[in-house]
Each structure stands twice: as C-alpha cells, then as structure tokens.
Symmetry: D2
Subunit: 347 residues, 4 copies
Amino acid sequence: MIIIMEERASQEAISLVLEAIEAEGLKPFVNPGVERKVIAVLGVVDVEKVSVADKFAALTGVERVALVSEPYKLASRAHHPAGTIVNVRGVPLGGPELCVIAGPCSVESREQTLEIAHAVKAAGAHMFRGGAFKPRTSPYSFQGLGRKGLEILAEAREVTGLPIVTEVMDADDCDQANEFADVLQIGARNMQNFRLLKKVGGMKLPVLLKRGFGCKVEDLLMATEYIMAEGNMQVILCERGIITFEDSTRYTTDINAIPVIKHHSHLPIVLDPSHAAGDWRYVADIALAGIAAGADGLEIEVHNQPSKAKSDGAQALTPDKFVDFMTRARRVAAAVERSIRVPVVTG
Amino acid sequence: MIIIMEERASQEAISLVLEAIEAEGLKPFVNPGVERKVIAVLGVVDVEKVSVADKFAALTGVERVALVSEPYKLASRAHHPAGTIVNVRGVPLGGPELCVIAGPCSVESREQTLEIAHAVKAAGAHMFRGGAFKPRTSPYSFQGLGRKGLEILAEAREVTGLPIVTEVMDADDCDQANEFADVLQIGARNMQNFRLLKKVGGMKLPVLLKRGFGCKVEDLLMATEYIMAEGNMQVILCERGIITFEDSTRYTTDINAIPVIKHHSHLPIVLDPSHAAGDWRYVADIALAGIAAGADGLEIEVHNQPSKAKSDGAQALTPDKFVDFMTRARRVAAAVERSIRVPVVTG
Amino acid sequence: MIIIMEERASQEAISLVLEAIEAEGLKPFVNPGVERKVIAVLGVVDVEKVSVADKFAALTGVERVALVSEPYKLASRAHHPAGTIVNVRGVPLGGPELCVIAGPCSVESREQTLEIAHAVKAAGAHMFRGGAFKPRTSPYSFQGLGRKGLEILAEAREVTGLPIVTEVMDADDCDQANEFADVLQIGARNMQNFRLLKKVGGMKLPVLLKRGFGCKVEDLLMATEYIMAEGNMQVILCERGIITFEDSTRYTTDINAIPVIKHHSHLPIVLDPSHAAGDWRYVADIALAGIAAGADGLEIEVHNQPSKAKSDGAQALTPDKFVDFMTRARRVAAAVERSIRVPVVTG
Amino acid sequence: MIIIMEERASQEAISLVLEAIEAEGLKPFVNPGVERKVIAVLGVVDVEKVSVADKFAALTGVERVALVSEPYKLASRAHHPAGTIVNVRGVPLGGPELCVIAGPCSVESREQTLEIAHAVKAAGAHMFRGGAFKPRTSPYSFQGLGRKGLEILAEAREVTGLPIVTEVMDADDCDQANEFADVLQIGARNMQNFRLLKKVGGMKLPVLLKRGFGCKVEDLLMATEYIMAEGNMQVILCERGIITFEDSTRYTTDINAIPVIKHHSHLPIVLDPSHAAGDWRYVADIALAGIAAGADGLEIEVHNQPSKAKSDGAQALTPDKFVDFMTRARRVAAAVERSIRVPVVTG
C-alpha cells in the first residue's frame, strides 16, 4: 500500500499519517526524494487489511491511497499459477477443450425445454441452460416456473445426459436447485448480492458467476472471493457485457476482460454473447471472438421459437443457426489450439 | 409500441410481423409513406405487455422495437401528477421541507453511534442512518454488528428522537430491521435483487431505494415498480452516483437525474453525495448542488473519527464539518424556495 | 513515479527495470519489504519526463506504472495556489462575482442575433455567445454563417456592450475571430485538437476550453497545458457533460468535476447546462446546481424561437425562461456567498 | 421521424406540432389509438433534413423525437448492399483477404523505422504504419519528426514495397502527407474535427478513420459522411477501443462494433488492438478476436525496442512477438473463411 500526500501537505499531516500506520500495527516508510511525499506501508498488508486504505485516505493531507497488491487472494493466479479446471459431471471447464452451454433463457414448458435440449445436444453442446427463477426488470414480466421448471430441467438432463446450469436468486432457490441442477448460476444483477454469494460458497455445486454489467473485473474477482472464502473453489467466471454509452447493442462485450482475467486469475472464464449483444444477429460473431480471445467456454441462448419466447427472444439463436454456429466454433477453436469435443449423440 | 423494419425487409417479413402482433391480441397499423416501414402496435399495450417487444424484435427483418410509453406505471407521474410525501414518524420527505439523513456508514459500537447521533441531531439532521448489515466488496472487511447493531440504533432513536434508516440485504434482515428501524434502505448493489424488492414491497415501513451504479433512471423506476406492485407505496428514491470513465471521484453524481426523476415520477428523491464522491473533500459542494437541482433530501455520512472508521472513512464528514455544511444547506434551500427545519434540540 | 512489478517478476526483470531507470538519468529506489517489488523513481521526474512511464511499462515483469505527481504544471493549483481571474473587457471570470454567458447556439441572422443579445443583456447576462463556425455531427446540417456571422456578433457587442464568446475550429477561424470576438471557444470535439490548442495558445484572447465528452478531468487539464505552454494563461475551463450509459439526457453533467477542478487547478470553471442536458426542461435546475457546487460561471443557450432554431433548439431557453432563471440564479449565488452583478441596462 | 408527445400534452400542443411539421414542408400523420399521441412525419425526411428533429423537440409537450432512418446515407449499406473494397497500391482492404497494417507508433529515426519496416514485411504485414505528426496528450511529449518523418516513411516504402499509412492532424499535414503516403489516417481525437474530415474528403488518397473513444458507432458513420460527401469514397473505418469504467485496460475494445458496422455500412472495418488494450500482453488475443468477429484488417503497433520507444512503448509488440502473432492470425483467418496472404519476401 502506498500513500500519496497532497503537494501542500504539512509536516504535521505527514506525522499523523505515520502514527496512523503504526496504530494499525504496520510499518511506514517514507520514500526519499520523490516529488511529493510518498509513504509505503510495510508489513503484512494482506487482503484482510485492505480496508485500512480507507482509514488512511480519511486523513488530512492525503491525496490518495493506492493498493500495490491485488485485493483478492483465492481467485488470484499469483497464488495458484496453474489454471483451474472445474469438473461438472465429467464435463471439464477450463482445460484445452472448450465447453458450450446452450439452452433457452427460461424454461417455459416441458415440450419447449425438451425440444431445445435435444436440439442443442445434437448440435454438440456440453451443458444445458434454462431458467426456472427469472430476474426480470419488470414485475409484470414472466417470472419463471419455479420448482416445476427445475423438474423439467432434471428431465432434460435425464434424456440428454447434459449437465444442467440454472440461475438462483436467493437461498431458498439454492436449496431447491441443489436437488436438480449441476451448476448454480448467479446472474449479473446479483453479482454483489453478498448473502447469495456466501450461500453458494457453502454448497458443493460449482458456481457460474456472471459479471455485473456495471462492475469492473476487479469487482468480479472480489465477488468470487466471497464464494471461495466459504470453501467452494469450483467457480466459473462469465463475461456477459458491460454498460457503456454505445447503444447499438444492449451491452458492450468486454472482450479485453478475457485475457485480463486469464492474467490475474486461475479460474475458467466463459463468454455469454447473447446478453452481451441483446440481438441474435451479432451473437455468433461475438461468440467466435470470445473463442479467439481465449475463453474457456460459451453460454448461448437457443430457442426453438424466438418470436414466441417468454423472455429474451430477440437474442436467441434458433437451433438451425446454432448448428451452423457450432461448425464455425469448432474451426476457430482448432485455430487457437483448443477443441470442442463432438459428443456421441445417443439421444 | 413502434416496430421499425430493416430498410431491406421483405413484404413477407412485414406480413409475419403483422401476424405476430395480431397473435398477441393487438392491432397493427402500418404507417403510410415513411422512409422505412414503421408499424404501430395499437390496443392496450400496457406495462403488463411490454415484454412482447422482445418477441417482435426476434422476427426477421425487424431493425428494432421502440416503446412509446414508460414501461412502469405506479411510479409514473403520468398516473399520479401530485408529488408523493412519505411520512416517517412525523418527518415528511417530499414536501417543501428538505429532509437530511445523516450518520455513520456502519454501526461500530454503542459509544460511536450515540455520539454521532447526538452530533447530527444537534446540527439539525432529521433522520439517523447507520448500517448493521454491511454489503462490503471484500469478504475480509467488517460485515456489520447485525442484530446488536439494530439494538444500538433503536437506542439512538430513543435518546435523540430521530427516525432510523438502515440497510437490509435479505428477507431475514428485513424481519429484524422491522422491529427496530423506521425506513428500510436497499443499497445500490441490491437495486435489482428482485426477491428483496418483493419482500420490502410486502412490508409496511417506507423504503429508501438506492440507484444501482450501473443502472439507468428507467431501471430504477422499474425496480420501484416491484416494491409498489406488492402494495408498499412509501418509496424514497436515492441517487448515489453512477459508474463512468471519470476516475477522479469514485462515482459520477448524476445531477441531471434529479430533475429527470421529478419529470417522470411523483416519488421523492434524495441525493447521497458521500458515495457519489467517495471523498469527503467534495461532499458538501455536491450536496449543495443536489439541493439546488431540486432534491427532496440528502443522505450524508458523518463519523466522529473518520480515520478510525471501520468502513468508508474517506467519505465521511466530521461533526464539525457537518455543522458547517448544514448552515450552508439552509441558505441554498431557502434560495430555491425550500426549507430545512431547525429541530428543537431537546437531547 | 512508482513502478509496481508483477508478483512473479524475476530478479533479472527487476534488474532490467533498475537499469532502465538509470539510463533515463533517474534514480531508482526499491522499497523494502512490501508485498510486491515496488520501485520508486527519484530525481526530477517532472512533466517533461512523464512519458518515460510508458517506456518502463513496456518492460517484462512490470505490472503497472503509477504517477505520483500530476502530469500537468501550469494549470496546477500546486504551483499557483491563488485562483486565477480572467478579465474579459472588464468582465471578471473567476472571482466572487459569477459570470453568465448567454446567447444562441448559432448566429442565424442579424435580426435573430440582435434580438437575443438585447434580451440576454436585459436579463443580466455578462457576455454574449453565438456560433459563426458550427461543428455539426451531420455534414448536411447548417454549418454557420462564417465571417458574416462574426460581423453580426461584433454589431451585437457594439449595441449591447457585452463581450463576445465564439467558437473556432481551425487556425483560419482563429485569425478571423481575433478581429471580432473577445473569447475564443474551443468545443468539446476539438478539446484534443492539439494544433488548434497551440494556435490559440499563441494568441492574446482568453480561451474558453470545453471538456471533451469522452475525456477525464485530467485530460482537460493536459489540454489546457498545451495552451498555457504557448504563453496564453487566460484559460477558462468548461464542464459540458460527459458521455455515459444514462440516456434520459444527452450527456451526464459531471457536477463532481467542479469541486475536483477547483481542488487541482487555479483556473476558473464554468458549467454549460444546455449541452449537458440536451433538453431545455432540465437546463435551469442543472445550472443552479452548478452555482451551488462552486462554478465560476455558466454558459447557457437562449433562443427567441427555439422551434425555428437552425441548431440545438431543443436545449435552448426562451428569453422569458432565461429571465426567470436569472432571478433564481441570483438567489442561489447569494446563498453560496457569490453574487451575480445586475448590469446597468442602457440599451 | 416519429414524434412522441408527453402523456399530458394538450390538444393545443399537438396542433402546434402538426403546424410545425407542415411549416417544414412535411406531412404529419397522427397514429390512431396508441397510448400516447405519436405523430409520424411523412414525406422526404432524408439526411439533409434530420436537423428538423431538434426543432420539433423544442416544442411544448413533445417528450422526444425518434429517427426512423439512419442519419447517414453514403456510408449506409442500405444504399450500397455490396461491401466496398478499398484498393491501396494493389493491396485490397475489404475483400476476402485480411489486411495487416503494422509498424511503430512514431517514426523516431531512419534506422528504427527501416528496421521495423523490414521486420513487419518479413512477418507478412501488408502495409506499414508510422507517425510523423503525433497527437500527444502532453505538450511536453515527443511530437513527431514532421516532414523528415514522412521522408523516412517514403524510404521505408521504397525498400519494402509496403504502402504507407500515416496520421494527419490538419490541412497542412494532409498536403505534406499527400506527397509521401498511401493512406491518410485520422486519429480518434480528431474523428469529429470536421474541417479535417472535409479536407481529406477532397483528396484522392484513401482515409483510415479511427473511431473517437467517446463516440458511438453512429457518430463514426456520420463523421464518415463528411468525407464521402466531399467525394472521397475510399474510407476505411477503425475500431480502437472506447472509454468505459473498466480500468484494467486503457480502453475497452468494442468487439460488438465489428458486426454492427458490417450490418449498417458497406465500408471495410479494421481493428487496432494496440490502442484498445494499451498493454502488449493483451494485444495478440484481442487481435485474434477481431479477426474472428469479422474485421477486414488489423492495425498493430510493432517496435524493435519498446522500452526505448518515444511513444506508446507499453502497447507495442516486438518483431518476434509479431511473427508469432501472424502465424496464429493466419490460422484464425482461415477458420472464418478469410485469408492472410503471405507476401513474397524480396527485401
């Protein structure tokens, strides 16, 4: 931690900063001769102590306080150089093989769900996604089938063999989803719902954590820390677009985040091009970009009848388009020395 | 609702859009002669139906779908022209008198809390804020005193008479806070925690809903709709800064949002300059700007010893600075024909 | 300057960094004992040398390079603690009296211009604005009257006595405007047109520099440095809104920027609420917020017939609304211990 | 064009809007029965007339005005369905073969420039970039060699055969570059320097127009219109990152913009991953993403000694890393059915 003083900071202000550092059991070190007074904070300033930065920043004469180390630990590649591979019922996520998660935004009915599950399986998807509990911006929109939806997802798994990824919104959802699903998804709007993070941190199932659309990569890794600090190390990160001034797409895919996350963290990262674009016309191209940038997987919305979907129809690929996409995806994966396994279709 | 077709949309594509509109029980109207085909959707396209926009957008040849009406109803001034005044134990929020909510970020101890409560009361604050349940970005940071914190807040109310505003993070917090607090605050990170919104919507206490830092004004009003649709009409909105590229302050205060919200909604709006700036040096000036722009109140962090605060010390005013601020605030309020009542100090 | 190494940086990488620092004639100092290797760069790392940061950042094993001092000098309050007052033909900008600059977006005709000039003078404006050279996003939109427009502005000055503020887009405009105007305005889109900055830096007239809508406060102060380094110290800064995800207004007024600029720079800062909002309905409230936040002046668009304006009609106040605004503005200015001089109306 | 009235707009206000439309020689059409009054503007509302939108928006009772058509014409795919191929001295940009433009940020010396030119040629680049006129954020930073730099670039072309891309900042630069270069580049900070756009619009050389970091895709296409309206149809667009709240990279690559621009425009689009990332560690992955997303080319900074570069060293690839990148790029190009021609190395 480095404390940068205001240019006009008095000697007294500097002395008070030195005292404050010592009062925290840390050791100050005033850098010689630099333009402004710069005070390094020595000693064990680990992640448990980063909040002292805020105390120091409150002192008179302090211009700002800069962290030197990352404010997270368990998610950091510095402490875990090898990449983590999350294993979901035998499907690896994070290794040389890319993992494609596909399915509808919402579970709307048994027929719709099974039809799409068969279709994405046939096209080569490795996991099936579908929402039983839906976080909708309008209270008047379809809110999901709840437990009934989970039962339909379980049936989809039974008939296709694909592991199930489904979103949870509170502790009770988690307990229900625990009976039926294979990966618990936390949506962008709940990325900093710390109670929910702690809850899934205490569970056994892998967690797919979506980046909040107003959150930095560092915030995402801090949120991950909540899950891992509770003991659940099976976390899959997901970039799904951030909010920017550009309005030709619903969000802006932060493609940079993929190599950035690979640099800072050992956890696998998948890209959700569907929410990132909000428009099916752009989904395939963005997904291919994600593969080329180094993503470990994709989460893509597929619907058999987008114009009748109860949610997010505008961004869903039809099964035909998804088949076409998978062909292209396999080629791009091979070009970056990854692969997309062609599942043995038995269904 | 207006559907704008791609310039090269085929006649067949247009026909399918017309059919889709009729299939939803609505009536299409093709505008004559405009540059591209523009189809108006007539009939009762109220807030319960806005999600059909997404279905129409999924159709081939559709460039985009534009809403004509606001996608919210209960929060809209169109349906409730007079401004709402929320009454909190006799303290009005939303009328000609401005309401100042002040106190520490976190309840840290009985002594700290009571000292600050007395100080802000003496300076003229109308409500007391303090967090017992703290949403922190790091799991290693102070997480609040929980129920013990609520008990301290209740004591602060008893000795000062100031109503208590405190944050809740899940349903259980709500039930506990219900015993002790006067206003339930929902933090920026939970603005779209729809389960929590529904929970407080079913309660009797007024709700102070903070805008998510990545959320548009429209998203805030949609989130409000979740609370109001459950029957709780006592909602206070709060602007607390949005995330932008500017990094000289922690967030960017969206001062425009104050008159914009006044234009679109009848609900009272307060400004939190402390989180918006993240730096005590700028808090007072931003707060005065909020009053001048038409805010109905302020929520300001005050701490007796910012450099020892367990959270957010860098943005807290000391009691002395708060007294000075209140003097300035009264003058600005008077200048915009509002007032800040000077409480009779009895404590 | 501080160089923060990657956690896994090798000893060899560190040695190369030390050598690179010395090769620039600077002195490295390795901080003891902190979590990662942190190397302070001692010696005269002044603004002429900040670009070495980029060289150091290119070295293997360097995580990032942080500046300790501000990368600008002439605009910095550190080197010029007292606030600068720019004097425009006897009208002070930067002192206790606020300065209101008002007028139409474009000079459209002699009649329109003179009518508005008389109206804003009568309402109490201190300078008159109007564009002869118009930077329009569409090449098909009205591009200004050019020299003819300047002549009309000069006539407006003659009949009202108000100094003239007008925008310049290239060196030739500057030479023409020099004959007729009192303040040269550089628009947001040209804030980093460095050739233009150098040109006005070599001139005698004061410059009003608008912040680019995608530029940080620091970028604005760096752009200012281009002007001042050429010898022109009469620079007025202008906040006019930044581009963010919020779309209920055209830009987001960065109200925080006002106290932030006051903290970092000695130059006067005015607020342009018209471009910041893009909607006349919000202009007055935002302008009042600017006064309360500490702005030294305002630049406001006024048009006698907004619905016939050749540019930006949607954000213009009518003369009646401007009169009403000025009354409110005087009250708010007084509340923050500033004043708005009531000019002796002689016209 | 569609005019949406406020919910409470009076009948009189509506009448005034209808009159205003007719006064512009256009024909209003009031949509039947929709929630609010929605007025379509019929007749020839082409790009020359879009500024009437602003007039209508100024009228009382108007909530907002929405364009139905794109506000640009010459750049629009609607009017030119086939993709444009720009031919630069025999090197095609926009067809099935991708074009790689590589070279240093600045021309620093003859030796440095020729060494890099030979290196990028050998690695398979198709054009050579280098700046003689440098737009630097600090006036104290290296500003380029000017005409001397252009002469060096011309020599680089002579010895390698690679066409030259170089940036121009004003009209005089254009005239000088015209003697030596093959493509005139307009930098992000000058994207809305309309005088410069008109100047290059009147020239014969192809123009590479970089997107402003605070500008929407639509703004980019409007800026293009300035060039094309002057008669120069040889425009290459360039995505180089936008400014967002994410600060782990210098800008955020808007990868979505690539398919979005392909949808709306017939012009070729290249990606500059170097400025988009600001960090060499991420450049290759982002560049590959650009190819996968459908970019027609890349512009990449390569420097023989990044830690001694006079500008932007932190984002430059070394020649070795560039060779490695080109190998990967060829594979990804092939995977998306494009190709990168291997030039016959004769130098």
